[in-house]
Symmetry: C2
Subunit: 464 residues, 2 copies
Amino acid sequence: MRNTIEEEILLNVRPADKERREVQEMGQKLIDAVIRIAGVPAMMTGSVARGTWVRGDKDIDIFMLFPKTLSREELQEKGLAAAYAVVEMFKGSSEEKYAEHPYLNAVIEGFDVDLVPCYHIDSTAEMQCAVDRTPFHTRYLLDRIGGLRDDVLLLKQFTKGGGVYGSDHMTGGFSGYLCELLILAYGGFTELLQAASTFRYGEVIDIERFYPDKKTVRKLFSEPLIVIDPTDKTRNVAAALTPTRFSEFVELARDYCTKPDQCYFIPDAPTSISKEEFRSVLETRGTTMLALSFKTPAYVPDTVVPQLRKTMESIRNQLETEDFPVHRAEVMMGTDNCLIIFELLVADLPKITLRNGPPVWVHDNADRFVEKYLIGNPFAGPWISEDRYYTEVDRRYPHAYDLLADQQKILSGSIGKHVRISMEEGYSIRKNEEIWSPEFTFFLSAYFAKSSHAVRKLRIIDQK
Amino acid sequence: MRNTIEEEILLNVRPADKERREVQEMGQKLIDAVIRIAGVPAMMTGSVARGTWVRGDKDIDIFMLFPKTLSREELQEKGLAAAYAVVEMFKGSSEEKYAEHPYLNAVIEGFDVDLVPCYHIDSTAEMQCAVDRTPFHTRYLLDRIGGLRDDVLLLKQFTKGGGVYGSDHMTGGFSGYLCELLILAYGGFTELLQAASTFRYGEVIDIERFYPDKKTVRKLFSEPLIVIDPTDKTRNVAAALTPTRFSEFVELARDYCTKPDQCYFIPDAPTSISKEEFRSVLETRGTTMLALSFKTPAYVPDTVVPQLRKTMESIRNQLETEDFPVHRAEVMMGTDNCLIIFELLVADLPKITLRNGPPVWVHDNADRFVEKYLIGNPFAGPWISEDRYYTEVDRRYPHAYDLLADQQKILSGSIGKHVRISMEEGYSIRKNEEIWSPEFTFFLSAYFAKSSHAVRKLRIIDQK
């Protein structure tokens, strides 16, 4: 039973007949062109092929199915050549891109078209590359998704509205294929959301019943949501879904089932923060914000953002090892600059610190430790406590700023490759309102904001 | 082979013939008096009985051996009555004291005399009370310690010089009986110190070979030094020796063997600190010192100091739970007042803090958490991270001072009985130089001082 809210959403997200027709025609023309030019079969894949795309998201994926007798190099060569010829034929423009092997991203007659070479195989067991699996997804769903297309659209829009759609590393959310399988597994949008309301970590969905029970599956996969790919039983379709996005989805589903509302289908409009507001918020919080700022590496967010996060964790550890408690930390990838932000409870410490020495039984080390710290050290120690020597010494970094500015120390940590190259060219440290710049007004606003799914929960609380 | 340093020390610590004679005569008079008054045998115990006392430490212990047919109440009654009569007879003055049962501490003809009633038993297996064991110690040592008295005196003076003599709770060091057994076990002062240089945790000394091997002993006792009582195989004579005092003794022994010196036999003269010096030292350290000050409970240090330490640990945990990092902490028991001191790296924090919420699966708690912190909270959150809700909230104690001043909170912790009674009557919080008072000039000076055994080590380092 679809409610009026959902009916209304569908009116907005269901592709118009004209859009469907145009996409189908364009797809067929491209398939014909591949057959003519390369002499191999081709097929449309993705949501457009399955009729499950949200209005406007009409990217066309054309997979060119080459014989499996070709070597990898031959496949790439012939594949790209055919793709270029197709684009040429339609007088489109194009750009080479890389997944596991290269493909062509083109604009043809106003459509965004991917032309992807892959092997024409009979089963996923013969797969040589992840893209070889894609045609199987489309074949599998085309046979089954027919009556459930509206439900898929609702789920896609629901996950978009809740900020959990997109299987890229930045989002760590739901892919389109995952949405389709979930709808298929539960038989509809309402049924899925009701089930999801009580999901917990280690949820198992095995549509084709490849495995005897959930326990067996949980021994093979450790992700919070495990959806066995019906075309490849060794793969969890939800592997890229992060624990946080999974939990958020569960809460969104539970809250929507309690009190359905249009707002769950509408993504938050980004808010921005002015420099004056930023300064004032920091003053209210009483914390010290320090940020490393450097040029954004020339790679996609899916590559750079995980490296920024890794770098952030490395520096967070360095800060906490040096007794600077980090309240929160965040990374922000702007077009020109990246920020790694640390909000500190304490940015300045006394110059004194404790140092642990060796056990008294390790005689040479004990003597060296006493010798080193007894003379010329303005503080107390060394002394023995239980089985070890301890002493007071001068603290190496009384100011967090100086630790962050110590390039050698910071770069000795675990830092992603491209971020390292950029940081080695130089980074600056910004403090409090110096961090603000027009490039980051949305990021910084989001950092201080209430989370949107929690705000939506307020509606439910109010009705009590 | 005794060196000249040791010979010189012995000239100072060996009791003079006159002292020996006077003590022996006084002891015999007291024993005769007990026999006459109570009709039970009596004996001298302790170092005076065994001729192992350091010059001037001539406390006389007289144990009155009552028949084991008496009840505990009868023993106490008859014992105290006899003791009072003995004191009366010598026109001494006295004061009742309590170990496991009461005894009389008297001053008789200028001697400090303890008159202790106990059961006259044939073996320690019949023991009803710890004091019943004491006569066995004296009998055991009298038969064996004869040729080693000078070695015992050297060890006692060495442990006094190093600050590790005394089995009271405040010191946690070596008892006189332990010193005697160690000398007996190794056959001399030099032999013991050479062995002790390489002592490690779990050292076993079983003079009477009650146990087949050290492994068996280590299964029964967990202390760093295990000296099986030759008169009672279930008891570790070194049970009161703390790990720290044990380690310090090992270092003192090792250093003395490397380069013998008179200084190892001479206790540090206490130093004091003026208010101005105290202020200046704190300024150099850059820390904030806060202390709880209250009236000293009317009990001995052996009772009060462990309670102060327990209270200190309880409050230290409360401070660290509230994000105030404690650099060092200390307790000081003055005649009139006690101090529990916390030296903080940070005494003031921003008013913001993170709070962990419930897992999202616990639906009722999750809803309550969001409801509570979404409205009227000036900071960000609640948000989800992995499987839990989190939020920012107002910090309860932005200032460590306010936490310490919250009497209800502080007294909710784990606090020793007598200390609690005193604190409930009221305590004040002192900050930095307010902590200084003439009562604590020695304590506070020691807090900032180099440890004496480390300073002694300097002599060895210098000769390298």
